[in-house]
C-alpha cells in the first residue's frame, strides 16, 4: 500500500480504495479481520482520524463491519459486491474515457473496435 498526500484523491479515500483493492484481490479474505486503525496509522504514519474516515467509507458500503471488541472484519459477499461495482465503474468511467480520447484522436468506432479485438488476440 502506498499513500500520497499530494494526490488529488483525498487520503481517506486512498485508504478506502487500498482496502477495497485488498478485498477485491483476496488479500483481505471475507470473514477475516483487517488491520486495525492503529496498525495502519503507525505503519504509514497517517493520522488515525484519517484512517478511520477511510474505513468508515467501507463500513457504509457494507464491505467491512465492526465486531464489538474484536475489530473490523470483511463482510461475506464483499468481494462479489466489489467485482460488480468495479464492472459498473469500468463501463461508466473507463469506457467513456476511452471513447472520448479516441474521438479526440479522430479514431473511428470501427478502428477502435478493431484495436480492442487485436488486444484480445494477444
Amino acid at each position: 500500500m502506498h499513500f500520497d498526500a499530494e494526490s488529488l484523491t483525498p487520503l481517506y479515500q486512498q485508504i478506502a480504495d487500498a482496502f477495497a483493492d485488498g478485498i477485491l484481490s483476496g488479500a483481505f479474505a471475507e470473514e477475516t479481520q483487517i488491520p486495525s486503525t492503529t496498525q495502519v496509522a503507525r505503519e504509514y504514519q497517517l493520522n488515525p482520524a484519517t484512517v478511520l474516515k477511510g474505513m468508515n467509507i467501507l463500513v457504509d458500503n457494507g464491505l467491512i463491519e465492526k465486531r464489538r471488541g474484536l475489530g473490523m472484519f470483511v463482510t461475506p459477499g464483499a468481494q462479489a459486491q466489489l467485482v460488480r461495482q468495479s464492472k459498473d465503474l469500468f463501463y461508466s468511467e473507463q469506457v467513456t474515457a476511452l471513447v472520448t480520447q479516441a474521438r479526440a484522436l479522430h479514431i473511428s468506432k470501427t478502428e477502435l473496435l478493431t484495436a480492442i479485438e487485436k488486444g484480445y488476440a494477444k
Binding site: 498526500a5 494526490s7 488529488l8 479526440a104
Partner: protein, 290 residues
C-alpha cells in the same frame, strides 16, 4: 471538552512586534501543524503558552483558567523546545527521573520501548550526546509525560531520515493509544502533512489560516494549460500566483471553480501542504522585510 484558548495575544521584543493579536484554539485529541515563516513567532507563541514568557496583552486559558502562573494548568502542558534545559553533567536516566517528579507521572514502559527503538544509552551524560541524540532524549520525555497538551517546537532537529521516520511512527502509535493534543511547529511540512489533522498558519503576527488538513489539501489546486483558457476558467476566483512558460500558464488557487467543467487541454493537479504553505505565505515582491 478540554481546550487551550489563545485570545488576542500580543508580544513584542524591543521595537519589534512579533505577535500582533493571535487567536487560536487547540482542542483535545487533535494534532496541529503550526506553520509560519522564519521569525514569525511560532516559538514565542509556544513559550507564552508554557508560561516561559509573558504576553503584552491578551489571554491564554486552559479550560477557562489563565495559564499564567497556574501550576495546575502548566502541569498539563509540556513544551519541547530547541534549548536543552537540563544540566549537561546529568545522565539520561536522571532526566527521566526528574521529569517523573516534576509532572507527577511518566510512562516508563513507553520510555523503555523508545530507548530500545532509538538505541539511547540512558547511562550517558547529556554533554556527551550528539545533537540528534539530545533531540531523541527530549522527544522521549515529550511522549512519556502525562500532559494533555504537548507542544513540539521543531521536534526533529538533527535527526536523520530513518530516525525521523521512526519518530513519526511512534508518535502515531502513542497518539492512538492515548489521544491527546500535539502542536507541532516545524519547517519539514511535507513530513508531517499526513500526520496533522489541523493546520494553523501565522503570518505578520496573526493567524491567517486555521483549517482542517484534509479540507485544505482538497482546496489547493494547480491549474495548467493555454494561458487564455486558464485565465478564463479562473476569472472569478482568487489566484495565489501564476507562472508562465511560453503560452502555458500554471495558476495556483484555493478556490478552483469545480462546478464548471475543466476546459479541454487544461489539467488540474493537487498542491501538497508544502506548496500551499509557500504560496500562502509568499511575500509580495519588494515587501519582504530583512
Amino acid at each position: 471538552m478540554t481546550e487551550l484558548k489563545v485570545t488576542n495575544v500580543a508580544k513584542h521584543f524591543g521595537r519589534k512586534n512579533v505577535l500582533n493579536g493571535i487567536n487560536v484554539t487547540f482542542t483535545d485529541g487533535q494534532i496541529y501543524g503550526l506553520l509560519g515563516r522564519n521569525g514569525v513567532g511560532k516559538s514565542t507563541l509556544l513559550r507564552l503558552i508554557n508560561n516561559r514568557l509573558l504576553a503584552d496583552r491578551g489571554q491564554i486559558t486552559l479550560d477557562g483558567a489563565s495559564v499564567v502562573d497556574n501550576e495546575a494548568a502548566q502541569n498539563r502542558i509540556f513544551l519541547m523546545s530547541a534549548e536543552m534545559l537540563y544540566p549537561a553533567e546529568q545522565k539520561v536516566s536522571w532526566v527521566f527521573k526528574i521529569t517523573k517528579q516534576l509532572y507527577g507521572g511518566f510512562d516508563d514502559a513507553l520510555a523503555a520501548h523508545l530507548v530500545s527503538v532509538f538505541h539511547v544509552d540512558t547511562t550517558s551524560r547529556l554533554s556527551r550526546l550528539s545533537t540528534g541524540y539530545k533531540t531523541l532524549v527530549k522527544l522521549i520525555v515529550a511522549l512519556c509525560v502525562p500532559c494533555d497538551f504537548v507542544l513540539l517546537d521543531e521536534p526533529v532537529l538533527g535527526l536523520d531520515a530513518p530516525n525521523r521516520h521512526l519518530f513519526y511512527q511512534e508518535l502515531m502509535a502513542t497518539f492512538t493509544d492515548r489521544p491527546r493534543t500535539f502542536v507541532i511547529a516545524t519547517h519539514l511540512i511535507e513530513e508531517i502533512s499526513q500526520l496533522v489533522n489541523q493546520v494553523v498558519v501565522i503570518e505578520r503576527g496573526v493567524v491567517t489560516l486555521d483549517q482542517d488538513a484534509d479540507e485544505l489539501r482538497q482546496r489547493g489546486k494547480m491549474i495548467t494549460g493555454p494561458a487564455a483558457t486558464v485565465r478564463d476558467w479562473l476569472a472569478d476566483v482568487k489566484v495565489l500566483r501564476t507562472t508562465a512558460l511560453g503560452g502555458m500558464l500554471a495558476a495556483y488557487t484555493l478556490d478552483a471553480p469545480l462546478e464548471k467543467p475543466l476546459p479541454a487541454g487544461v489539467t488540474m493537479e493537487a498542491m501538497n501542504l508544502q506548496q500551499l504553505f509557500i504560496e500562502l505565505t509568499r511575500e509580495e515582491e519588494g515587501s519582504h522585510e530583512s
